[in-house]
């Protein structure tokens, strides 16, 4: 594994390995001395084109616990503003000998572009790109879910998959990188994924996703999910006529007290409530955030372990070699629909 760009092209073996390593990293987090020397002398750049203090400090803590040097590079303004280009920034980081670039960018595909270009040789970790993917968020969600699933099943977390688990993701799937990354990763790990949201916030083309789609949240809850993941409703969607009003959204797709009580009535004692944060309390989530079912703080905690695992796996080994079973490729096919006998480069 040279880059971590999306969960869609992550094999089950690679995903499980990352989660297993994260378990060991998590154990380190409980020690008095929380630092490991594995990435001593390596430089990790947090390249943030979008403000996200939470994600940045999580990556920063992860890199520092592995003894890497961390440089925070915040690029002001949006990418569309005519400032320094991604290319120039990347070449600057290359000149500074960055070993890994953790990139958060408002444009979908910016990390993939960085990884595929010859602008920089560093490992690229996608820390959220536009409305595309946020793989480490999905990995920490999967890590959290797996611990929960293993605890219910009475098995150790390491090596456990999510087979048999039913996860319901609710809200603005159209604009959610968290939803996309979770759909691919959770299904790869064996979970069944249900999606619920207003039809205007579900993408055209969702029919080809490995999920069941509901327009009615209560109908989705009736499927007895083991976890309900509430997506954040971005402020800019609220005024863009995707739905009539926040009141109506909250009533139909918010996880309110009534729906929290419904879980009890249905006897779904082990169903957890997740949220990637930051929350819009009273809109997509209410008291459920503070209930014992909430995994929201565990998600934050697990974020550091998962990001340590990602940094360790990308940076520790010989970059030109890898364990034979970890042979997944991140390059995308460039095959053109052309008849036989033609070759592409």
């Amino acid at each position: 594994m040279k880059h971590l760009l999306s969960t869609r092209d992550l094999s089950a073996a690679s995903a499980l390995r990352l989660l297993d390593v994260a378990e060991e990293m998590s154990a380190v987090g409980e020690r008095e001395i929380k630092k490991l020397p594995a990435l001593r002398g390596r430089t990790v750049v947090n390249l943030f084109f979008e403000d996200s203090t939470r994600t940045r400090i999580s990556f920063e803590a992860a890199a520092k616990r592995l003894s890497a040097d961390v440089i925070n590079f915040a690029v002001k303004g949006s990418s569309v503003s005519k400032g320094e280009s991604l290319k120039d920034t990347a070449q600057t980081l290359e000149a500074m000998s960055a070993d890994a670039v953790v990139i958060r960018h408002p444009a979908s595909g910016a990390p993939a572009r960085l990884a595929a270009s010859d602008w920089i040789d560093a490992a690229v970790i996608n820390a959220g790109d536009g409305t595309h993917e946020h793989p480490t968020q999905a990995l920490l969600d999967a890590f959290t879910l797996r611990r929960h699933w293993a605890r219910i099943g009475g098995t150790p977390s390491a090596g456990t998959t999510l087979a048999g688990m039913k996860v319901l993701i609710v809200g603005d799937v159209l604009h959610s990188r968290v939803a996309r990354s979770n759909v691919w990763l959770l299904t790869t790990l064996g979970a069944e994924v249900l999606l619920a949201g207003p039809p205007t916030l579900l993408p055209v083309g969702i029919g080809s996703w490995p999920c069941t789609v509901f327009y009615d949240l209560d109908e989705a809850i009736a499927q007895r999910p083991d976890a309900v993941m509430m997506l954040r409703l971005q402020a800019e969607r609220m005024n863009a006529a995707f739905f009539p009003s926040t009141r109506e959204y909250s009533r139909r797709w918010g996880f309110d007290d009534g729906r929290l009580a419904l879980l009890d009535i249905m006897g779904l004692d082990d169903t957890v409530i997740m949220h990637p944060g930051p929350m819009n309390r009273g809109l997509e989530i209410s008291a459920a955030a503070d209930s014992p079912r909430s995994t929201i703080l565990a998600q934050v905690r697990n974020g550091v372990s998962v990001r340590m695992a990602a940094l360790y796996l990308l940076l520790s080994g010989d970059p030109h070699d890898d364990e034979p079973r970890d042979d997944e490729t991140h390059s995308l096919p460039h095959d053109l629909p052309i008849p036989e006998g033609r070759t592409t480069r």
Binding site: V21, E23, E24, K35, P37, A38, D318, E323
Partner: protein, 195 residues
């Protein structure tokens, strides 16, 4: 387990059979008790993967001599992956779990247990890893095989067998707990050489 079919061009010879190995471990167990003047404060930390079952075996042998000892309470595993100095030279290694006995290691006598002592770099990493976990009173080293070729000023306190080897050869330790198949013990030490 039977010997895997020899790959072409590789010769193998058994240097320790199951009974030899067991005798060597028994002797080490006695040496440890003798050096420590008993079992007080004794902790055996195996280095994954094969150091851990060896530590368990040693603990059982110690318990057989001293029935005040509960082998599970003096045995642990110490993963050194994150402390290695050769991470960049090899394919990415997945770290293993570190599990300390409930008593911890502070002010204890920690015996590191590994299967083969070679360059000494693993033990160097183990000492660093140990320092991040606590402060033992004494650290000793027990290995099943010392094959020479040290690259660091490290030596073992307890050695099952000294094996002169050429650096071209590979020493493979097979243990029933890890390499066993269908309950058939696989205990043996083999030297492989590319002919």
């Amino acid at each position: 387990m039977t010997m895997p079919a020899p790959e072409s061009g590789i010769t193998k010879r058994v240097v320790l059979a199951a009974a030899d190995m067991d005798r060597a471990l028994t002797r080490i167990a006695h040496e440890i008790l003798e050096a420590n003047k008993g079992s007080a404060d004794l902790i055996l930390l195996g280095i994954p993967r094969r150091g851990f079952p060896l530590a368990q075996r040693l603990a059982r042998k110690i318990a057989a001599v001293d029935d005040a000892v509960d082998p599970d309470l003096i045995t642990g595993q110490l993963d050194v992956t994150m402390y290695r100095d050769d991470l960049r030279r090899n394919p990415t290694r997945s770290p293993q779990a570190t599990q300390l006995p409930p008593s911890g290691i502070d002010d204890k006598v920690v015996v590191l247990v590994d299967d083969v002592l070679y360059s000494g770099r693993t033990i160097r990493a183990a000492l660093d890893a140990l320092a991040d976990l606590g402060r033992p009173r004494i650290v000793r080293l027990a290995v099943l095989v010392d094959r020479g070729h040290r690259e660091l000023p490290i030596r073992a306190d307890h050695v099952g067998k000294n094996l002169p080897t050429s650096s071209r050869e590979r020493v493979r330790v097979h243990l029933g707990e890890i390499d066993g198949l269908d309950g058939v013990a696989a205990d043996e030490v083999v030297i492989e050489d590319r002919a």
